[in-house]
Symmetry: C2
Subunit: 152 residues, 2 copies
DNA sequence: GCTTGACCTTCCCATTGTGGGAAGGTTTAT
DNA sequence: ATAAACCTTCCCACAATGGGAAGGTCAAGC
């Protein structure tokens, strides 16, 4: 099976298949006389494993570990579980971060009239800021529209 | 004020300040006779604005829009609000994605013994998968440990 | 057989935002 | 004067992905 078919069958783009080969996430496959890569069902199975791992947000390094465990008939499921739970923690940490940003910002937007006037608590916060490390401004919410404008 | 002081005062690394200048997010500042960049308080204020926007996850393009609005004394707060709310939607979308991954994975991990035996529902799912587009396997949860091992 | 289009190959470039580091000039403090 | 600490530019790297060019190959139709 050539790379196009393998791509279709696995859901991994041909570009990425070549890339995964180049970084040695997957082994080099055999070639036809003309130099075309030739994929077996087993190769495709591995690519699908990879696609699913990527869909779960695993990095290439983690996938490399998972692939090794997959092929290790003597693996301890504890090893797989550890990788998975570390990744869960990372995913939650990132999601948490995004949601904190989102909440801060939608709170600010909630206080913004969103009309044709320039006064805007979002801009004011960006300009005066919560706890700049210099901390010498501690502006409440002056809302003086352009009172802080960099007189440009 | 040289770039080191401006960096310290703004919380933006010197490297990033030069980068922001190179992509024209910020204007070129004046130079000393020796060619050192020289930052005014106004420049530092702008850098702090940028740092806060970045802390809220805004992209360089969005920051560029926000900076323009900041300097526009005739801005409509609606414009700021629109950018903010679009960004909130994006943040929520990403957070949602991460949480979906996290939930799928912690569900799988919850069913994994995590002991020294090889049998592992996480590996099984990666190997057999929910709804591979070929859809010819639809494996429930055979859990045959190495029944799908690529006989390597 | 020959042409055409769809495929394959490798190689290079771009992305986003950030940092590392080298080679060389400057400032500052001892 | 000398050394440390800074600045300058330039290049490289990351992670994961795609775009595209230049050239070879395969399959189908005439």
């Amino acid at each position: 099976m050539n790379i196009g078919k393998a791509s279709e069958a696995s859901g991994v783009s041909a570009k990425m298949i070549r890339y995964y080969e180049s970084i040695e996430l997957i082994p080099e496959v055999s070639r036809t006389a003309a130099g075309y890569r030739d994929y077996s069902d087993k190769d495709v199975h591995r690519l699908r494993f990879i696609r699913r791992a990527r869909d779960l947000g695993f990095s290439v390094d983690q996938m490399s570990e998972l692939l090794a465990l997959w092929q290790d008939r003597d693996r301890a499921s504890a090893d797989v579980k550890r990788i998975a739970l570390e990744h869960v923690a990372e995913l939650e940490r990132k999601a948490q971060q995004l949601m904190e940003m989102s909440e801060t910002l939608s709170h600010l937007a909630g206080n913004c009239q969103g009309d044709s006037r320039p006064d805007c608590p979002i801009i004011n916060e960006l300009s005066e800021g919560w706890g700049s490390e210099k901390g010498d401004e501690t502006a409440g919410s002056g809302c003086g529209s352009n009172k802080d404008k960099p007189e440009d």
